[in-house]
């Protein structure tokens, strides 16, 4: 299957600026960014806090909690936990909040022309 994406003719004549200015697309972009940006900042801060602690707070990180298991090891393993958790969270967010609206826009672009106000002219299928 030579699906030579992503420059097939289906999208060649689309006025992308028009699409970009539609409310629907603005909403998709807002939803995407309002999730990924704060989340990226949060996990990077948490990761660098951990690196700084391991680097400059060796005494604290070496505090034994249970047997030979110290705070450093627990925080390290928590990095694994948070990574798995954010992954799951993002997937469920995309499935609920991003995919449906993206599919809708895609469907409209591939099936319809847009007028100058960015409203779709229904019925004009290519």
């Amino acid at each position: 299957m030579g699906n030579d994406a992503p420059t097939p003719d289906a999208a060649a004549s689309v006025d992308f600026k028009q699409v970009q200015s539609t409310k629907q697309f603005q909403e998709l972009r807002k939803r995407h960014r309002s999730f990924v940006f704060p989340m990226a900042v949060a996990f990077l801060l948490w990761y660098f806090a951990y690196v700084l602690l391991a680097d400059y707070a060796v005494g604290f990180m070496s505090t034994k909690v249970w047997g030979n298991i110290n705070i450093g090891l627990i925080l390290g393993l928590l990095q694994f936990v948070s990574t798995f958790a954010i992954t799951g969270w993002y997937v469920s967010y995309s499935n609920r909040r991003l995919d449906p609206i993206a599919a809708e826009i895609r469907h409209e672009i591939e099936g319809h022309e847009f007028d100058k106000e960015g409203n779709k002219i229904s019925g004009v299928t290519k």
Partner: protein
């Protein structure tokens, strides 16, 4: 709990050479058959570079894990934990957390806007020629550093297995690995390479799981006892605490920060990982692949924690350091301690296959970038047909294979996880700012991209050349000379912020405005997948 720690006699390993080679030969034979079968339908450029976009998310996710869990992860991290304790664990964490950057910011958007290579995305809305050339050059540079690490790992591994400690013998081994790799890529293209990655990832994770289970069983499934064992054997309670390797001076602490930064920002900018996102049909499958790979990779890194401390406890740092192959021999020596020659043979074959597969993945990325970005778009000015392009790609494979062989002979003996971290630093400096800016910043311009890519790439490479990695220390590549005026061994803390800054500065100073239509198109395509998805029924 008293535990006998029988010494691993490295000389015994020689007796098992034949067995090791047999297991490895079997693996090569099986995968070669699969590669030949998989490559029957390779016709178009999309087939050769992107496996016809025919893989599912889980398949591709396993292949990504295969690409990512290189010799650096298996041999390098296990060795680093066995010798340096907690500081080695840092590699695992950085390598894993980094996937969130790929998942949240890069994978899907990239799948929707590109075709074959990283340069497709970076030059989407900027000036084609200069951006494409810059992206191709940085792709080649990153692949080269990564290749060095893998070849060095091959040298370590084989010298241990065959007990070859002389320079010429190890060089010969590296030549054989290189030749095998060239064959895989020439015959199989992306599809063949992907299948090798999938098989190898499953074998590697299964092998590591068996060893982890075994080590834990010895310590009654009590992690605390295992850690105690590592402290007892090494006689150093600081094995469990941060700072054993990096905590000595203020400079080395800064080096640790630099490493942390490079690890977390490098992954999403590795060209051979990015290229994998094009082997799936939709952005949703790209997302699924990342999720799969995060789970597999995370699981594997949890294993390396046990394996590293297991090697420290059961084999001992002194035995590891004095074995042929040095630090990188911790995992194979642990396998020998646990399961004797048979497990050693299996683990070594898997590790060797790992190197072979990763090298193949890197080579095909570099070849695609040269053929697609430099040859087809710049030299032939878009007039080359797909057949010629694939032909050029195949020739490039041979050239890159030869370069990798030469480089690997010289990088032999360095810790492979450390060498890979350098590739991460180069990738994060040269590629990540431009990827992020062009996906998310409307006002990003061609000048910004050029400044950021060349600035990041140049500063990272120059700083490495002037660092203790290359000269001025006992462990340097050129131990006799001393021109190490940059004190850190990882350049990330300087070169990554610099590249981000240059991207911003170049854009705001750029008098020429970019095409806003192209920007709109890229944004709409990246978020909705228009044109990249298979047409939905209307």
């Amino acid at each position: 709990m008293t535990l006998m720690v029988p010494a691993v006699n490295v000389a015994d390993l020689k007796d098992t050479t034949l067995l090791n080679m047999g297991i490895f030969g079997l693996f090569v034979a099986i995968t070669m058959v699969i590669v030949i079968k998989a490559s029957r339908n390779n016709k178009t450029a999309a087939d050769y570079y992107a496996a016809g976009r025919s893989f599912t998310g889980p398949q591709n996710g396993t292949a990504i894990a295969g690409d990512y869990l290189s010799a650096a992860s298996f041999l390098g991290i296990t060795g680093a934990i066995a010798i340096n304790g907690y500081d080695g664990f840092m590699y695992s964490i950085g390598f894993l957390v980094a996937w969130l950057v790929a998942l949240l910011l890069v994978a899907e958007l990239l799948r929707n806007t590109g075709k074959f290579t990283m340069a497709d995305v970076l030059s989407f809305r900027l000036k084609q020629r200069p951006v494409r050339i810059a992206a191709a050059i940085s792709t080649l540079a990153v692949c080269f550093f990564y290749l060095l690490a893998q070849m060095a790992g091959a040298g370590s591994l084989i010298s241990l297995l065959l007990g070859i400690s002389d320079w010429g013998g190890q060089a010969l081994v590296i030549i054989v690995v290189g030749a095998l790799m060239i064959m895989y890529v020439l015959i199989g293209g992306m599809k063949g390479t992907t299948w090798v990655q999938i098989i190898k990832a499953m074998l590697l994770i299964a092998g590591a799981a068996v060893m982890t289970f075994w080590v834990l069983a010895i310590y009654g499934f009590n992690l605390s006892d295992l850690l105690g064992g590592a402290v007892e054997t090494s006689g150093n309670p600081n094995m469990l605490n941060p700072g054993l390797q990096y905590g000595k001076t203020e400079t080395s602490k800064l080096d640790f920060m630099s490493l942390g930064l490079a690890l977390v920002l490098g992954t999403a900018a590795l060209p051979h990982v990015l290229m994998r996102f094009y082997t799936v049909p939709t952005a949703k499958e790209a997302r699924k692949s990342v999720v799969w790979s995060i789970w597999l990779i995370g699981l594997f890194y949890l294993f390396t924690l046990v394996l590293g401390y297991g090697a420290a406890a059961l084999v001992g740092a002194d035995t590891i350091k004095s074995a042929p192959g040095g630090v990188n021999s911790a995992a194979p020596l642990l396998a020998f301690h646990l399961g004797g020659p048979l497990l050693l043979g299996f683990i070594s074959a898997v590790a060797f296959a790992t190197i072979l597969a990763v090298v193949a993945g890197l080579t095909i990325t570099a070849a695609a970038s040269f053929a697609h970005d430099i040859y087809a778009s710049v030299i032939a000015k878009g007039k080359a047909d797909a057949d010629t392009e694939v032909k050029v790609a195949r020739r490039t494979v041979v050239v890159i294979g030869l370069l990798a062989i030469a480089g690997g002979i010289f990088a032999n003996g360095q810790n492979v996880a450390f060498l890979v971290a350098l590739a991460f630093a180069v990738a994060a400096s040269a590629n990540l700012p431009t990827i992020v800016y062009s996906l998310f910043w409307r006002k990003f311009t061609t000048q910004g991209a050029i400044w950021s890519m060349y600035g990041g790439l140049g500063s990272a490479i120059i700083l490495i050349a002037l660092s203790p990695v290359v000269s001025g220390a006992k462990t340097s590549m050129i131990p006799g000379a001393n021109f190490a005026i940059f004190p850190l061994s990882n350049p990330g803390i300087v070169s990554i912020p610099l590249a981000f800054f240059l991207g911003w500065l170049g854009s705001v100073l750029d008098k020429k405005l970019e095409d806003t239509t192209k920007q709109a198109e890229m944004e709409v395509r990246s978020l909705t997948g228009v044109g990249a998805e298979k047409a939905v029924d209307h």
